[in-house]
């Protein structure tokens, strides 16, 4: 009878779970981890380049989130907030650890599907995109990931990166143009 409401907790909105977690309900926080953990792991792996490092970062991120949850002003916006914490920890872990490892190819096996040609084209496309992403300068890549995965507003990214909003917009535009140019063969 430890978490009698785990199933029911899965039905309610983030804001309700955040409210409970702020009050000390670890079961509600556990539900938030299950709900947002996968995207955070994938996102962090894109930044740090290894699943093992990503798993460490995301653990830290949830631990930090638990402690700082009372500071979250808009409980409904917990996902971008979690992404922001994960992003910050991921980039600082990159800096602690000088580039000793090359970024591995994260796309491993082809997913099972019935149309191998389409899948092959699509996978090649995604690989090209993945490679293009890796060539971006760190600040552009960070802006891009915060925007496209974290779904942060330009203003929030600006605040997060301590840059003027116009600079963030410029970096995002350059990131997009650069990815687009590199994907030329796949359009």
């Amino acid at each position: 009878m430890q978490y009698p409401d785990r199933d029911r907790l899965e039905d309610v909105a983030d804001a309700i779970l955040v409210g409970r977690a702020v009050d000390g309900d670890t079961g509600a926080f556990e539900t938030l981890i299950r709900r947002h953990g996968p995207l955070m792991r994938a996102y962090t792996a894109r930044i740090v380049g290894s699943m093992a490092d990503a798993d460490d970062v995301v653990q830290d991120a949830f631990h930090t989130a638990w402690r700082r949850l009372p500071e979250l002003r808009d409980p409904a916006a917990v996902r971008p907030w979690l992404m922001r914490i994960a992003s910050r920890l991921a980039f600082s872990s990159l800096r602690r650890k000088p580039a000793e490892v090359e970024l591995p190819d994260l796309e491993s096996a082809l997913p099972a599907d019935t149309q191998p040609e389409n899948i092959a084209v699509r996978n090649a496309q995604l690989r090209a995109l993945s490679a293009a992403l890796d060539t971006l300068p760190e600040d552009q890549r960070r802006c891009w990931l915060l925007r496209e995965v974290g779904e942060l507003s330009y203003d929030d990214i600006a605040q997060e990166m301590e840059l003027p909003t116009a600079t963030v917009r410029g970096k995002l535009a350059r990131a997009r143009a650069s990815i687009y140019a590199q994907m030329e063969g796949w359009r």
Partner: protein, 197 residues
Amino acid sequence: MNDNEPRTLDCGKTVEELSAYLAAGRTPSDPRIETCPECLNALQGLARVSQLFQDLITQDVADLPAPPANWFQDIMTNIHREVRAGRSLPLPHPDTRVDLSVTEGAVLALIRTVGDTVPGLLIGTSHLEGNVEEPGAPVDVSVTASVLWNHPIPDAAHTLRALISDALATHTALNITAINITIEDLHRETTDSDKET
């Protein structure tokens, strides 16, 4: 094919310019761009980068290996160590030498526990407003809750208020002057109802 020079379209616009235009939400509208087939084509391609990127992350998530065995438990263990006790609420005891109290965190947990027994209702956040550390001081209770779609809200709120009132009278010495309930959200059952019963 992959130089770092800004790529210039035949119409004279650069991909960078178009990307900046897209980032600005295509406002103010630039008729030279909006009527140029080449620019429109590039804008479409630039916008598609986002979609493709979403596909990439979706695939990442789908291909995600399970986390290491203790990954989840480690997080939970760390969290359990940092209990949110809150304030200390005095409880009367016949022996004046005995200092008895209950933590605010425990009272909030009590509110959640009794609140969650109301059919179709799940407690969100709970607050004790007032000087709870002072015996007899007036205290307002405020709770938010989410109610299951199609459940009558007044009934649920009525039951909730009675349950909280009883539980606090039984387990605390608080002088409750009001119980404010805000139904903050409605939710649906997402679990497969076939499996339920």
